[in-house]
């Protein structure tokens, strides 16, 4: 059974009082839940959050399934999200993604055998000037943009992260 650690529970409770309405704390609470459950959210996490925040489970689940940054399934240590929208596609993001997937022998959305990398496509990440680019986020929720990528520079970054 998933249990929130004490300081996570404390953080959730402070979030409850930080905003104008209790319900506004659902998004930050889901981030905390995701961090506690190494990078993805399961129904148990939502039951736990619902108990702590006294908000109906279906409302929290609605918010969880609506937004893309809450991961539905488990992710590797590094979650690679390559932007696929127009400006990046014009600068060859499809070829870049194909190269990364071949190198890591995974299909879109899968995790490598050693659990290090998960590769997914993301929609516009707001860094079109430095296309093609990718965002790598860790299981604790921290993330970093890697821009102006070529096949080699991307692979060097991935090797550095291993």
């Amino acid at each position: 059974m998933f249990q929130l650690s004490n300081d996570a529970k404390q953080k959730v409770l402070t979030e409850l009082t930080r905003y104008e309405s209790k319900q506004s704390a659902v998004l930050p609470a889901l981030y905390i839940g995701q961090k506690e459950n190494n990078g993805h959210i399961t129904p148990e996490v939502i039951c736990e959050l619902s108990k702590v925040m006294e908000i109906p489970e279906s409302q929290i689940n609605e918010v969880f399934t609506f937004y893309t940054m809450y991961n539905k399934s488990s992710i590797g240590k590094n979650h690679i999200q390559v932007c696929r929208t127009l400006s990046c596609m014009l600068n060859g993001s499809t070829e870049l993604t194909e190269h990364i997937c071949n190198e890591l022998h995974v299909k879109m959305g899968e995790t490598t055998k050693d659990g290090n990398f998960t590769v997914t496509e993301a929609e516009c990440l707001g860094s079109c000037g430095t296309a093609p680019m990718m965002q790598i986020s860790k299981q604790d929720g921290s993330s970093k943009y890697y821009e102006n990528l070529t096949n080699e520079s991307a692979m060097n970054i991935l090797r550095g992260l291993k």
């Binding site: 104008e20 659902v26 998004l27 609506f66 400006s87 014009l90 000037g129």
Partner: protein, 449 residues
């Protein structure tokens, strides 16, 4: 485009982005050294209505995408002293736009000061900056800046002894383009799904938690400080009569020097692409330009060379300024593939609340994908136009228009490419049918995201 016609003297006017190159501008001291927090005490001594009239006189229009006159928007607030909110829309989901990110990372205090002055003008005690979840650097920069502002007494109770107290907070989004829409962002701030609310009632009357709310873009709020500094006439020095002031344009796509350029409104698109942007890549010719972010109708090459970057001129050309994201497409790219890419974006981002948009974006995505896979039929082109036309203007928010406008403009202006693709089963430009990338797992081949 022969080289002689490019007007090399037309250059950037670094009005807002004057000190962005200084790394110290990011900190409180560096910001103060370069003209920071001088307008705030001046504003706190003025009457709030004076500031609103000043903004109205300056002709400042919303920089987020709609271009609605900011002064007028502030004027809609009810005149009672009911609590009201100021929200800064930093969601920046429009494909091609990356100006807010630069502003927040390079000059967070510029936004904070602008928001305190605007908060004072509309009499709001609480304001939020809604930043999209992916911008973790911008969020950290803003949180540091707000903490510094609290420490320096520019925020909190009785700011600078003026009796005005104001709190500010950053709210982190979680990845949804729809939260860029005014009421979508308000729903997300309320901790719900980012689904737009029914209008009327408009947010100025009943917005965040059913209280009057003003939502402005980062650039709009940052400009308020400069209006105070130079007065309405000073601000109107740049830009045209109806579109006053300067604007940050994000240049991207097949261009030599992509990036953010601050130019006065009315600046010619041709100079932007060939002058500041360095023109298309060597050996490639310009084919199409999307002037205002992915939801703006596309311009063909020669239309682009006649267009000026301001609200009225682009509207006459049948497109819109939008968020000022210029996406350049050269002749080596296939327009059908570009449209399919955009349709996949809108299919993925539609919030699913209204039926025409939820099912329409899905349908458009499937039709363009089947054309791209060589399974298109001649009637599909007509169908694309009909679906897009009947989706436009029928929903609560403008995402259905944002999905329909690219379809209407791409298909009507580049119809030959679509018909070639349907008849020959391969791209007119690339000569070969679009190969679904190998990493695509099978379920996504059917256009479902």
């Amino acid at each position: 485009m022969s080289a002689s016609e490019i007007n090399t003297s037309a250059n950037e006017i670094k009005y807002l982005s004057e000190f962005y190159h200084l790394p110290e501008f990011k900190t409180l001291e560096g910001y103060k050294k370069n003209g920071g927090y001088i307008q705030l005490p001046k504003a706190l001594k003025m009457q709030p209505q004076e500031i609103i009239d000043l903004v109205k006189a300056s002709g400042l229009r919303g920089r987020g995408g709609a271009g609605f006159a900011t002064g007028m928007k502030w004027g809609f607030l009810p005149k009672n002293n009911e609590p009201r909110y100021l929200l800064c829309n930093a969601d920046e989901g429009e494909p091609g736009t990356f100006k807010d990110r630069m502003m927040m990372e390079k000059a967070p205090h510029q936004l904070v000061e602008g928001m305190i002055i605007s908060g004072f003008a509309i009499g709001s005690k609480k304001s939020y900056i809604y930043v999209r979840g992916e911008y973790s650097d911008s969020i950290n920069a803003l949180e540091v800046a707000i903490a510094e502002a609290y420490k320096a007494g520019f925020l909190g109770r009785n700011i600078l002894g003026s009796g005005f107290d104001h709190d500010m907070d950053v709210y982190r989004g979680a990845g949804a383009y729809i939260c860029g829409e005014e009421t979508g962002m308000i729903s997300s701030l309320e901790g719900l799904k980012g689904q737009p609310k029914l209008k009327p009632p408009f947010p100025a009357i009943q917005g965040y938690l059913k209280k009057p709310t003003i939502v402005n873009n980062v650039e709009t709020l940052a400009a308020v400080k400069y209006i105070l500094r130079d007065g309405a006439a000073g601000y109107r020095k740049y830009g045209t009569e109806k579109s006053a002031g300067t604007k940050l344009f994000s240049l991207s796509g097949n261009i030599v020097k992509p990036g953010n350029y601050e130019v006065p409104l009315g600046f010619s698109l041709k100079d932007m692409i060939y002058g500041l942007g360095g023109g298309t890549k060597p050996g490639k010719k310009l084919k199409a330009v999307i002037p205002g972010g992915s939801s703006a109708p596309v311009l063909t090459a020669d239309e682009a060379e006649r267009a000026n970057l301001d609200y009225e001129n682009l509207a006459q050309m049948g497109t819109m300024l939008g968020s000022g994201a210029i996406i350049v497409i050269d002749d080596s790219k296939c327009m059908v593939e570009c449209l399919a890419n955009l349709m996949h974006f809108y299919h993925h981002e539609s919030c699913g609340q209204c039926t025409p948009c939820r099912e329409g974006t899905g349908w458009l995505d499937k039709i363009t994908t089947s054309i791209l896979a060589g399974r298109g039929r001649l009637s599909d082109i007509e169908l694309l136009l009909k679906v897009a036309d009947n989706m436009k203007g029928k929903t609560i928010c403008a995402l259905s228009d944002a999905a329909a406008l690219p379809v209407l403009s791409f298909v009507s202006k580049f119809r030959d490419e679509f018909e070639f693709y349907v008849r020959e089963g391969k791209s007119k430009v690339k000569g070969v049918v679009y190969k679904t990338p190998s990493y695509q797992s099978d379920h996504s081949k059917l256009g479902a995201h």
